[in-house]
Chain length 211, copies 2
């Protein structure tokens, strides 16, 4: 069906173009409020001295997330005006608006907060990361399978809140691994900083293995 072929072709072209310019693209997905923007803020604080970063942030409405991230790196808000996910044409238009004078090392795409629809759309990323907050429950991977099946890594966010919620890391991992056996997990807290070193090492490793 050619209506599906167009976005897929655009995504392939975008990924190839980013690869040629040495830009590693990360597509970050989660439920609303899982901590994507907070994770990107903490990531940029630690990675920004060594690598050139930029980001595109998808939301139904407001520029709140791009305003937060602009403190750390060039950031463009992609406002979908109602659509429940990002798609390649909006990503391409956003990338042009970044007006980068030199290629960046990492391009982060923060997807619209939604654990369902974004899982079906390739944005031209090199790696897709799903964020699951420990406050959401350890039963979510099996309930929202496609997001976990189509991701390479899963960040378990807000681990500083573990003492106050019934979330069990081993059951969440077992549940997710029944959907995707090779999924890698990174428990982190954007507040305490715990686990961020392993997450950053993984990002750099992913980049080195694909660019």
């Amino acid at each position: 069906r050619s209506i599906l072929a167009e976005p897929a072709r655009l995504a392939e072209e975008f990924r190839a173009r980013m690869t040629r310019s040495g830009t590693f693209v990360v597509n970050l997905m989660s439920s609303p409020g899982s901590g994507k923007t907070s994770l990107l803020e903490a990531t940029a604080r630690r990675l920004g001295d060594t690598y050139r970063l930029a980001c595109l942030v998808g939301d139904i409405a407001t520029d709140r997330d791009a305003d937060r991230l602009r403190r750390y790196m060039p950031a463009v808000q992609l406002t979908t005006g109602g659509a429940c996910r990002l798609e390649p044409p909006l990503v391409e238009a956003g990338f042009q608006r970044l007006k980068l004078d030199r290629p960046v090392d990492f391009l982060f795409i923060e997807n619209v907060g939604n654990l369902v629809c974004p899982a079906s759309f390739d944005l031209g990323e090199h790696v897709r990361v799903v964020v699951l907050a420990v406050t959401e429950g350890d039963d979510k991977p099996g309930k929202y399978p496609k997001a976990f099946r189509t991701s390479t890594a899963c960040v378990l966010s807000k681990i500083d809140l573990l003492p106050y919620v019934p979330f069990r890391i081993d059951s969440a991992i077992a549940d997710a691994r029944s959907i995707r056996a090779d999924l890698e997990f990174f428990p982190v807290s954007a507040v305490s900083g715990e686990g961020l070193d392993s997450w950053l090492k993984a990002l750099i490793h992913y980049r080195n293995s694909r660019i």
Copy 2:
């Protein structure tokens, strides 16, 4: 456009039929893991002695939520198999599967965990309630406006976690009221029980004013 007219007609018919039989229908929406099922468990524990209850639970995959709720009331799992929201035909089919021998006083419909797509679909409910967990952030109403614009009430869930997150109830309320001025708020904790009495009083009041 007749393809939109059909679900709307089905929803109207369902609501009219429920009204005639004295069944008050509540459509509960939120992000994944905001606490819909936990709220319904706590609600059923307190309401189940006085009122006849039943529920329909929408999910992409698994029967986990219906299995939890079946302990408290007749419950049917509506498995969407990928669709990001419930629609009237699935609700009707689920209602038939409840095989109720007498009408119930409250029919709860727990929608698929998604703060975007379900906001566009009338399921034949008398009242729509959006749940926002305090762990998700007080900036969400403006970022996901349709869910708040189309709801009558907003439950602020997990308030026992307020000491550990930067969520400010007054800013969340102000943000949501800029989208829908008459939205009613119910801060609750399904764990400590705080706020549940006001929530239950409101449910009974909503029912009395529409049935």
